[in-house]
Symmetry: C2
Subunit: 445 residues, 2 copies
């Protein structure tokens, strides 16, 4: 083995191979073979890819004695976390006061997004945004740009500099928004097509066709989205659905011929395995069935759903209908960039629905689970040999209360749960992208 580009990271390691709570006869049942946990583990990275993971004792015995070893004692390495719904132009909208969805968009979001016509501004925010994600241990995200083509260019340029695997798309929006944020069906098609041609699969960048939601696209524009997905079958589709009751009523008014909200998108063939629908709090049974049939997924955004008073998503209902779902921050409606804090809030939402989310399931979702809904589990989300080496080093002693609590935990599940409930960006000691350290807490990089 050529050790020139090989580095071993030694710490506790958690890695999922499948869902630890698969649904068996309609019930979630723990499958302990779904994950590997190494108390004293070693993760071998070669040329930016995962070469091997295992018990440190076994792994080190197979390597030359002069191999570079980076020790993270009392830390936990997990795959880089994945966020399946976030708006990079809404960084400054975070923590804005007092509105539910429709007024939120009009009063805060749209004015903020107007600034992204200026590419220099967009680049500044894109850089800030990516650094925040990496600080929180998120290495991949499915990201909304604004209506401006240059907002997505700025984003991909910033992501390319960091070599992060990111999915982004230009918002398509031609009605029910301020003039300065509206495109046209043709312009949205042309700009999206040009961005796909330039950026999709350039390095680690991927493209998502991005009609904001049914309210802000005409029939003609939704047809253009359909055309793009037909012409580029391997790009993503991201949009919003059934987040808020007023939103739903407006959609019903705009599309009286549709069976329901999802049917609007379905009429334009926007459903499928690479289609991610954010929120989906208030879906009906037919919509659940249709999401299942088409392999589409719902993105659960707990901090946002509480902050905007949108509602409590029932993930048990999704599971019963075999609807794939992932978990996401939804910044700026969401209140934190941290997937740990997002998992903590997800636990609270599931407790309110009487269906608590376990720590193993939570961390599965934030890594391999989210990767699967993005059809990226052959590249990221786990330490499978050959995967891109995106990983996070978590600190069990990041704060005084975390440290005290961890000292009292007896089981792995307890330790992981305390990490989720008490953790924030301080729990992220380091973040690696394709084998390169891109963030060290306290700037010690």
């Amino acid at each position: 083995m050529n050790t020139q580009s090989t580095t071993v990271y030694r710490a506790s390691i958690l890695n999922f191979q499948s869902d630890p709570y698969p649904i068996v006869d309609g019930e979630a049942v723990l499958d302990n073979s779904a994950y590997q946990f190494y108390q004293d583990g070693a993760l071998v990275i070669e040329d930016g890819k995962v070469q091997h993971v295992g018990e440190a004792h076994d792994v080190l015995a197979t390597l030359p004695s002069d191999v570079e070893i980076v020790e993270y004692k009392d830390h936990l390495i997990i795959p880089g976390m994945i966020d399946t719904h976030i708006h990079y132009p809404q960084v400054e909208v975070i923590a804005s006061y007092g509105e539910q969805l429709m007024d939120w968009l009009n009063n805060y979001t749209f004015p903020a997004e107007g600034q992204f016509e200026d590419k220099a501004y967009a680049s500044n925010i894109a850089n800030f945004f990516l650094d925040e994600l990496l600080k929180c241990g998120t290495t991949t995200a499915l990201v909304f740009g604004t209506v401006h083509k240059q907002s997505v260019e700025a984003f991909f340029e910033a992501s390319e500099q960091r070599n992060t695997r990111m999915i982004c798309g230009k918002v398509m929006m031609d009605r029910n928004a301020p003039d300065f944020l509206c495109d046209t069906p043709d312009a949205s098609y042309d700009d999206s097509k040009s961005l796909i041609d330039t950026w999709h699969n350039k390095g680690r960048q991927l493209y998502a066709v991005t009609p904001r939601f049914a309210i802000t696209s005409t029939h003609e524009q939704l047809q253009k989205a359909e055309q793009l997905l037909q012409e580029y079958p391997d790009v993503y589709m991201q949009t919003h659905i059934s987040e808020n009751k007023d939103e739903m009523a407006f959609v019903a008014e705009l599309f009286p011929q549709a069976k329901d909200y999802l049917d609007v998108y379905d009429q334009y063939n926007l459903l499928g395995k690479r289609s991610v629908f954010a929120h989906g709090i208030h879906l009906n049974k037919r919509e659940h069935q249709r999401l299942h049939e088409t392999g589409s997924s719902v993105s659960f955004c707990p901090t946002s759903n509480l902050f905007l008073g949108s509602g409590l998503l029932d993930i048990q209902e999704l599971e019963q209908h075999q609807v794939a779902y992932s978990i996401a921050t939804d910044v700026g409606g969401g209140t934190s960039f941290s997937m740990l804090q997002t998992l903590s809030e997800a636990y609270k939402v599931t407790q309110m629905k009487g269906n608590k989310l376990s720590p193993l399931k939570s961390l599965y979702l934030a890594t391999l689970g989210n990767a699967k809904t993005l059809q990226l589990d052959d590249k990221i989300g786990s330490f499978k040999t050959g995967n891109e080496a995106d990983f996070v080093v978590l600190d069990f002693n990041s704060t005084a209360i975390m440290s005290l609590k961890q000292s009292k935990c007896k089981t792995l599940a307890e330790k992981l749960f305390a990490m989720i409930i008490l953790g924030d960006d301080r729990a992220v000691e380091a973040t690696y992208v394709a084998g390169t350290c891109v963030h060290k807490r306290d700037g010690k990089q």
Copy 2:
């Protein structure tokens, strides 16, 4: 003026004189005269008490030129925050997985509380607990001990060392708990009486008669609680009410003759202006009326209510019935010691109930509002001349995202809201107790 013991703190300062949203004809209406905000303010502290607060320019003109001035540029000084419901022996129970109230008590809380028979252990946890509160800017709390008399002794000793104004009580509990945590009516009376005689009004310490809740006290023990309140009319009473549906059903079974849950306590004359009932999520109209008539208050614990899946308190309903309420962390059922994080979660709960909590109201509650429900507004909770000088210095630039957001805020309300939603212990630059700095972030004290 003797400047020997006079210090001026210069920063932005926010101070409430009354509720910024008093209820007028059943509606909450903003009263801008309820608070003072000084962009460039000065807080004058003399001998551990508030001497004056005002515009720096005006205040400094009245003071000798050699007066000591501590500058906190770009910071906000508010009165020390107050937490009206917290369990100090549950520090290690925080972030425990998976149960709602009754199983939570049996599986986590009771085993943890058993350890407080050992006074040395209790002292260790009391010290940790108080340091966490101070780190988060909380200078007064209404605190549960355990059933062990020595747990409260340990707590008051630790509080006395820090000179913090704390209210604590020994849990009275003589049934439906493990034997090792049960006292008897007589022992609970004797221990409580002895603690009151020793600690109530000793320095800044205050006592609260503390029957855990109706489930864990017999008729005879509740009579003892009543007797204590009759003998010591100026001590507090703290307990729990209507947190969880299973709890409520059990109470109804144990007290079939009571009209409802509150009536159990009412039969023993445990209601009154110094009585604090934690949670109160599922109260009926009669209970609201009775709380109002007796001047009793409800303590709203949003992080705990979500974490344990207990429910969403409707504060609008409390306001309509003129029931006094305060806000609290409820650690260990609560997930954070930080009142800022608690206010953030309170906002989310009120959004879910369609009745958003404003930032001014939030910070009023955490300071003067909570002080009023504890009948302590003549001592703490505001910068009234002569009040004890407990205060907190908040940092508008505590994290990168806080700093970016603050730079975009145009109004005071926006800045306060961003502080609440994005703030945690890192937002607390320093905490002062009776004029003495007891916490500096990053240990720079």
